[in-house]
C-alpha cells in the first residue's frame, strides 16, 4: 500500500526517485517488466496448475469444509433445531423442548437415522449414541407430558451437557471440531474451557509431533551434511557409488526398511543380542529401542536421510574448491574457512533439506504406526485413527487442517527468512 501511495501522482515523494526515459517511476517500471516475465512463467506451468487444482486443491478444500461443517444433527432434527434457534444459549429445556425432541425422535425412528445423529452427538459427549438409538426405538410410545415420558425412558436426557452439545450440533457449521483438536470444549454455559486433563491428548501430540520432527531434522542434518560434502568432493567415479548407497533406501519398500529396523532393534533383536552376548548389558536389561519414541526417531531419521542429503549435495556440488582455497590463502584456518565461507554457501541446501524433512516428518504415518508403540505415535496416526476407526471425519479434518496451517506457516517463515527463490531441492 505504501508503494502505491508513493507512486500516485499527487503524493510528494520523500526523496527524488529515479524516472525512466518516458518519465515513469523507475521502480514501477521495473516491477512491471518483471511481472511480464512472471506471467509468461505462469503460462508454462498452467497444465500443472490445473492438475494440482483438480487433484489437490479441491480435495483439500473439501477437507477444510468438512472440518467446520457437519449436518448429521441439523438435517435430521428439524423441531429441536427450531427450538434451539428460538431460545437463548443456556436456556433450561422446557416442555416445548421435550416435545420437539419427541417429534424428532419419531422422525429418527421413521427414517432410521438415530445412529447417525447419535454418532454426531457422541463425538462430543461419549456414551450418548445409545441414548438416541434406544429412546428412538420406543419413540412412538411417548405421550405428553413429554418431559416426564422421555426422562422415564432414560434419565440421561436431563444432562445439561447433552443439551449444550445438541445446541452446538444444531448448527451445521461449527468450530467445535477445532476446539476439540486443541483440547477445548463448550461448557454447559456456553463458555470455552479446557477438556478434563485425562482427555487432553491433541495439544500434547501436536507438540510431540513438532518436537520429534525437529529432532529428526537436526539428526538428518548432522548425519547428512558430511555425507553430502563427501559426495560433492569425491571424484565422480567414487561419488556415484556412494550416491547409490544413499539412494538405496529409496528403492526398497518402506515396509521392508521398517521391518528391518524391527529385526535390529527389538528386545530379542540383533543389537540387543549382540550387547548381551558381549556382556555389555545383562540379559534382563535389554534396551527398549523400538515400540517407543526411540524407535520412531531412529527409523524416521534413516528413512528421511536422503531428503536431507540430496538438496545439500545439489548445493555443494557446484561450489568450486577455489572458495575455500581463497579463504585459506587469505589466512583462515580450515575451521574458519568452513564456518565463514563454505557453510554460508550451503545454507540454502540446509534450509531446503530441513524444510523438506520437517514437513515430511510432521505428516509421517506408517513408520510411527509400525515402530512407535504408544509413546512414538504422531498426530498423523491419530488422524488416521479418526478416519478409519472412530469415523469422526470432521475431527480428523480439523486436526489435518491445523497441521496444514502449521506447515504453511513454516513455509511463510522460510520465505521471510531465506526466500523461496533460494530453495534448492536438487
Amino acid at each position: 500500500m505504501a508503494d502505491l501511495a508513493s507512486d500516485a501522482p499527487f503524493a510528494t515523494p520523500a526523496r527524488e526517485s529515479l524516472k525512466t526515459a518516458d518519465g515513469k517511476p523507475l521502480k514501477a517500471a521495473l516491477a512491471r517488466a518483471q511481472a511480464r516475465s512472471r506471467r509468461r512463467a505462469l503460462f508454462l506451468v498452467l497444465p500443472l496448475l490445473v492438475f494440482i487444482l483438480v487433484t489437490f486443491v479441491f480435495p483439500i478444500g473439501q477437507m477444510l469444509f468438512r472440518s467446520v461443517h457437519n449436518d448429521a444433527f441439523s438435517r435430521n432434527m428439524p423441531n429441536l433445531v427450531a427450538w434451539f434457534e428460538a431460545t437463548e444459549p443456556g436456556t433450561e429445556p422446557d416442555e416445548a423442548a421435550y416435545a420437539a425432541l419427541a417429534a424428532d425422535l419419531k422422525l429418527l425412528r421413521e427414517n432410521r437415522t438415530a445412529g447417525e445423529v447419535g454418532t454426531r452427538v457422541n463425538y462430543e459427549l461419549s456414551g450418548s449414541r445409545s441414548l438416541f438409538t434406544s429412546t428412538a426405538r420406543r419413540a412412538n410410545a411417548l405421550e405428553p407430558p413429554f418431559r416426564e415420558a422421555i426422562l422415564a425412558e432414560n434419565e440421561g436426557w436431563a444432562d445439561p451437557r447433552l443439551w449444550q452439545v445438541m445446541r452446538d450440533a444444531s448448527s451445521a457449521y461449527t468450530a467445535n471440531f477445532y476446539l476439540a483438536a486443541v483440547d477445548l470444549m463448550h461448557t454447559e454455559t456456553g463458555e470455552i474451557a479446557r477438556v478434563p486433563p485425562d482427555r487432553q491428548i491433541y495439544v500434547n501430540l501436536f507438540l510431540r509431533t513438532f518436537a520429534l520432527s525437529a529432532l529428526i531434522t537436526v539428526l538428518t542434518l548432522i548425519l547428512g551434511y558430511p555425507i553430502a560434502h563427501l559426495l560433492a568432493t569425491l571424484p565422480l567415479r567414487y561419488s556415484n557409488i556412494l550416491m547409490i548407497l544413499v539412494l538405496l533406501p529409496f528403492w526398497t519398500s518402506l515396509l521392508v526398511r521398517t521391518t528391518a529396523w524391527i529385526v535390529l532393534l527389538q528386545q530379542q533383536g540383533v543389537i540387543n543380542s549382540t550387547l548381551v552376548a558381549t556382556g555389555l548389558i545383562a540379559d534382563d536389561q535389554r534396551l527398549a529401542m523400538i515400540y517407543n519414541q526411540t524407535g520412531t526417531i531412529i527409523a524416521m531419521t534413516h528413512i528421511l536421510l536422503p531428503f536431507m542429503v540430496l538438496p545439500l549435495y545439489s548445493v555443494m556440488r557446484p561450489i568450486p574448491p577455489s572458495y575455500v582455497r581463497a579463504a585459506r590463502s587469505l589466512g583462515a584456518s580450515s575451521w574458519k574457512a568452513f564456518r565463514s565461507v563454505y557453510f554460508p554457501m550451503t545454507v540454502p541446501g540446509i534450509a531446503a533439506g530441513g524444510l523438506l524433512v520437517f514437513i515430511l516428518a510432521v505428516g509421517y504415518y506408517i513408520t510411527p504406526a509400525l515402530v512407535g508403540g504408544a509413546s512414538g505415535q504422531l498426530i498423523s496416526n491419530l488422524i488416521a485413527y479418526h478416519m478409519t476407526d472412530s469415523l469422526n471425519w470432521s475431527l480428523a479434518a480439523a486436526l489435518a487442517s491445523i497441521l496444514l496451517a502449521a506447515v504453511l506457516l513454516l513455509y511463510w517463515l522460510y520465505d521471510r527468512l531465506i526466500g523461496i527463490d533460494n530453495l534448492k531441492l536438487g
Binding site: R325, A326, S329, S334
Partner: protein, 367 residues
C-alpha cells in the same frame, strides 16, 4: 639439498615432482629460483602442470617429491593459511554472501587487525584498483572486470610479499584484458611484490613478465626474459609456442662453432645458428621468425642467405602484410613485412627471392 639453495632466492622449487595418481608425473623434476620482487610467469599449454605448481606453492597440493622454499624456509609442511601468500583465482572466488568490503575485511579479520586500521587498508586497496565506490556491493552486482579488480585488491589488502595469480584475466574480453595487464604490471612495480603469474596466453606472458618459464608436459622448457625467449628460443617447442615461427626440416651437413650448414628437404644448403642439435647427419628444424624474412633487395641484410620462394597468398593486415609462400618444399612459410614506404602487394604465383640473416635462422631439435 642445502647446497642447491641459491643465495637470495625468495621462492625456490628444488627437484619438485608431483603425481596425482601414482602412475604419471604431472610435474617432473622442477627447479626454479625467484629473487624477491620478480614477476615470473608460468606459460604453457593447458594441462602442462602450471596450476599444479601454483597449488603446491600455495599449499593446496603437496609435492610428491622435492622441496619448496619460501624466503629460505621449507614450506612443505606449512598449512596454506600460514604461508601468507596472496592468491587470485581464475573464477575470482569472491565470497558471494559478503559485500566487497567484507570480502576485503576477511583476511584482515583473521589476522586480528583492528577496525580502524582495517577500514584504512580496505579503502587503500580498493582505491588502488579504482573500486573505491563499490565497497557495499555484492560480487554478483559487479561486472567481470570489476570482480577481477576486487579479487586483486583482496589478494593484496593484507600486504603479502608473494602473490599468485592463476589465469586471472582468462575470463575477460580482449580490451579489458590488455588494460588489466598494464594495471597488474603497475601494481607489481609500485608495491614491490613478488608475483607468480600463470597463463596460457603468450602475448600476456611477454608483455608482463620479468622472466617467463615455458612449461610443457610437466617440464620447464626454457626460463628466460621475454626478449630472450622470443629471439633465442632454446628448443623447437618454445620457438613454436612463443610467437609465429617458420620451420624448415633438414639434416645437419656440418657444424663449426657458431655456424651450422643444413641441407633442406629439397637439397638446398642453408646456414643457421646451431642451438640444440646433434652432430653431422642428425635431423634438425631450422626456425626463422616471419618478421626477420625480407624480399626487397635493399632490405635483405648483407651476408644473408637467400632462397627462391613462390607467393601463395597475400594478406593485408593494416600495419603489416603477411605473405604465405612455398619455400624449400614447405607450403606454410610466412613472411611478415611492416607496411613501410616501398612495400607493395605481392600477387599469388609471383616468384621472389627472400633472405634472412644466418643469426636469425636457428637450428633446433627436430621435436
Amino acid at each position: 639439498m642445502a647446497a642447491a639453495q641459491q643465495v637470495g632466492a625468495f621462492v625456490e622449487f628444488d627437484r619438485v615432482q608431483k603425481s596425482y595418481d601414482g602412475e604419471t608425473l604431472v610435474v617432473k623434476d622442477l627447479n626454479l629460483a625467484m629473487p624477491k620482487g620478480e614477476f615470473l610467469t608460468m606459460l604453457g599449454p593447458s594441462g602442462s602442470g602450471k596450476t599444479t605448481c601454483l597449488m603446491m606453492l600455495a599449499g593446496f597440493e603437496t609435492a610428491t617429491h622435492g622441496e619448496i622454499r619460501l624466503a629460505g624456509r621449507p614450506i612443505n609442511q606449512v598449512p596454506p593459511h600460514k604461508r601468507g601468500i596472496g592468491m587470485v583465482f581464475q573464477n575470482y572466488a569472491l565470497f558471494p554472501h559478503m559485500t566487497v568490503n567484507e570480502n576485503l575485511a576477511f583476511p584482515l579479520e583473521v589476522r586480528g587487525i583492528g577496525k580502524a586500521e582495517r577500514e584504512a587498508k580496505i579503502a587503500r586497496a580498493l582505491d588502488m584498483v579504482k573500486m573505491g565506490k563499490f565497497g557495499n556491493r555484492r560480487p554478483a552486482q559487479l561486472s567481470g572486470g570489476q570482480q577481477q579488480r576486487v579479487a586483486l585488491a583482496r589478494a593484496l589488502v593484507f600486504d603479502p610479499e608473494l602473490v599468485l595469480m592463476d589465469e586471472p584475466l582468462g575470463a575477460l574480453d580482449k580490451q579489458l584484458r590488455e588494460h588489466m595487464q598494464f594495471e597488474i604490471k603497475h601494481l607489481h612495480e609500485n608495491l614491490g611484490i613478488t608475483v607468480v603469474y600463470v597463463t596460457h596466453d603468450q602475448s600476456e606472458a611477454l608483455t608482463m613478465s620479468d622472466r617467463v618459464a615455458v612449461f610443457n608436459d610437466g617440464v620447464i622448457q626454457q626460463l628466460a626474459p621475454p626478449d630472450e625467449l622470443y629471439e633465442r628460443p632454446a628448443n623447437s617447442f618454445v620457438a613454436q609456442f612463443i610467437g609465429e615461427n617458420n620451420k624448415l626440416p633438414g639434416v645437419i651437413e656440418d657444424v663449426d662453432g657458431g655456424r651450422a650448414t643444413v641441407r633442406l628437404a629439397t637439397g638446398e644448403l642453408i646456414d643457421a645458428t646451431p642451438v640444440n642439435v646433434g652432430g653431422r647427419g642428425s635431423r634438425t628444424l631450422v626456425s626463422i621468425r616471419p618478421e626477420r624474412v625480407e624480399y626487397l633487395p635493399e632490405r635483405i641484410p648483407p651476408g644473408a642467405h637467400t632462397i627462391e620462394a613462390e607467393v601463395l597468398e597475400f594478406i593485408y593486415m593494416g600495419e603489416s602484410f603477411r605473405t604465405r609462400m612455398r619455400v624449400a618444399g614447405s607450403d606454410d612459410f610466412i613472411m611478415k613485412n611492416r607496411n613501410a614506404v616501398g612495400q607493395r602487394r605481392l600477387q599469388p604465383g609471383e616468384r621472389i627471392t627472400i633472405g634472412w640473416s644466418p643469426q636469425d635462422a636457428r637450428a633446433l631439435d627436430p621435436l
